[in-house]
Symmetry: C2
Subunit: 360 residues, 2 copies
DNA sequence: CTGAAAGCGCTTACAG
DNA sequence: CTGAAAGCGCTTACAG
């Protein structure tokens, strides 16, 4: 315990001095370099390190080695359970692979997003996994040319070469319409928070294409979007759904017979909003969600929805990043397809009403 | 663009060379030091920095300044929505205060937990916000003596001086029993995943004290705990609840009339498990949750529960940490109290059955 | 097997 | 207002 005055944290040189060896030797022992060191010396160094409570300084090491085990993660919004599940998948895989996660929620603000990206560059992260509200190829290219590997998910950034996890949002939109159409619906609406991300845009496009495929005219009377700017706060999505239910229920001359919600949470809001107005789901209107969150199977009516594999998306993104880190320049695309999960919130429209499905 | 051979990232010295000034001057300009620099020089430096695409290296700066804006966060389990909400509160406040979050989920493994803590020390974080599966005062004291501020939540670590966000779990357990007792229940059980954290222990203690206060004998036939070691995986809690429902339903000579679940997700599992066995909630058995997750108000029957403010806990923890960083040694304790949120999953026991409450 | 020395990118007394 | 120099804690050719 022969340390300096002001309870300074011991460094490699403190240990070196105590052991009567050079800093280089201590470094070789303590960094598991595999470099040969006489066994007696090694033992002494390890013992002294322990005795003085030595903690390696990763900053010093990083500066010297110019490498990092940190991965930046930029998500639009932690209050949406979808992203929370992505994060869980990411974190699980990161842990398995030995990476640390630097989290940066953008709160759906492009400014914050850009700042987070720059912050990550500043921190010299090895790579970043991002889902952007306002994809900016130049910003991401800057990171890449700074040696930072990028992986995106749920979006392809125009003009950027990088690995990504794709999801076919357009197919999801079509699948939604197909399901509702098969149930007998012809007057189908789309409910969403503002279309501020490409994934939403694709979903909406798929929805419209789905309508077109069945000869159903699209148009503004089918599209119900949130206007609030209070996004990113907990409960925004569900509240938006509640409000949209009011607008849907008030549409003249008549209420749509089915609604496709841009995510499960919005669907919950719709169902609640409808209930408050005495509109029954699925008796009066069918509600189809998107995401298949874990608890979507627990609500009543159990939510019919389109599965969007969240955990798997996060885990896959982390794996792709790890691959890209191991093999710079490697670009891989992993694709997930939508899958229909029919439950109880969708049923044939009133005239042809068939018995409801079970709740469990 | 007069940079070195191998597309090395430009440093302060590259800019200095191009501008014909010293590195010190460039640093003064680019680090917003407030140090006086001739305006013409300043402008030139800024322009060149932009031109060469300079990105400050936070590692170099951290090593020199010995300070960090990183905060470590150690959570037991991201698959539990409670912690997810805590994280959201934390992250929101961290963003507001200008800190970056280094995330480390322990997956409920004490080894992983200890490793994460050491990793954070290594990374020279300014502080850490932790909820530990196996609280270890020595481990945390080591961080503190290394200059890292610690804030805990939902637990007080024996023998550790630090700011913390407390929650009165014992009172929550008592409140649960009081509510169920007031409804007429006398045969009340407790259902939980393994009691591996002090908070769970306190909740259970409160439950038992609550029983005792009403002269209801405790005992093993009232305590139903998960045995699985598959904790930390998504869906563990709900699956555990489903399994426990089976054990509860099969208890002889008779099924309890009410169950207090250690968290809302377990309660969902219970309700599902009961439903699968034809046991109705609340008609045959009342289920009371704990947490009041956002979606607990959306399920059917709407979950009666005890509120445990998650977002607020995370935000408060971050604020306390910020205070402690600003004023080293400052120890503050912020307390949250449990609050009953009666909904539809609890009702008087069968014999005295009264009309059910509404679902919304 | 060991050490002296340079250097990772930055900041900051110190001297002018 | 500016610069030379030292140093944050570490690693790693290089020489022995």
């Amino acid at each position: 315990m022969a340390l300096d005055p002001k309870t300074r944290k011991p460094t490699i040189y403190d240990i070196a001095r105590i052991c009567g060896v050079s800093g280089a030797t201590v470094s070789r022992v303590l960094s598991d370099s595999g470099y040969p060191v006489k066994e007696a010396v090694r033992a002494r160094v390890v013992a002294v390190a322990k005795e003085v409570g030595y903690t390696p300084n990763a900053i010093g090491r990083m500066l010297r080695r110019r490498e990092s085990a940190d991965i930046g993660v930029v998500l639009p919004n932690l209050s949406n359970p979808y992203f929370t599940s992505v994060l869980l998948g990411l974190e699980t895989e990161a842990h398995r692979l030995g990476y640390n996660v630097l989290l940066a929620s953008s709160f759906r603000d492009p400014e914050t997003e850009a700042r987070s990206l720059r912050m990550l560059a500043t921190k010299q992260v090895a790579g970043a996994i991002v889902s952007l509200t306002r994809p900016d190829a130049n910003l991401l290219k800057d990171l890449q040319s700074g040696g930072i590997a990028i992986v995106t998910f749920d979006q392809v950034v125009e003009g950027l070469k990088c690995s990504r996890v794709e999801f076919d949002f357009e197919a999801a939109g079509k699948l939604a319409v197909a399901h509702l159409h098969a149930l007998g619906h012809r007057d189908i609406a789309f409910a969403s928070s503002p279309i501020d991300r490409p994934s939403r845009r694709s979903l909406q496009r798929g929805f419209l294409e789905g309508l077109a495929a069945f000869g159903i005219p699209g148009g503004e009377h089918r599209i119900f979007l949130g206007t609030s700017e209070a996004e990113g706060t907990e409960g925004y999505e569900v509240e938006n759904g509640r409000r949209l239910a009011g607008r849907l229920a008030g549409r003249s001359p008549r209420v749509p017979t089915a609604v496709f919600a841009a995510n499960d949470v919005t669907a919950f809001g719709l169902i609640q909003g409808f209930a408050a107005l005495g509109v029954r789901v699925p008796d009066d209107v069918s509600v189809l969600g998107f995401d298949d969150l874990p608890f979507s199977a627990w609500v009543t009516p159990a939510l019919s929805t389109i599965a969007h594999p969240a955990f798997e998306t996060g885990a896959a993104a982390m794996r792709l990043l790890s691959d890209a880190l191991r093999e710079p320049g490697k670009v891989t695309v992993e694709r997930f397809a939508p899958r229909l999960v029919p439950r109880a919130s969708c049923a044939p429209p009133a005239p042809w009403k068939a018995p409801q499905g079970g709740t469990t």
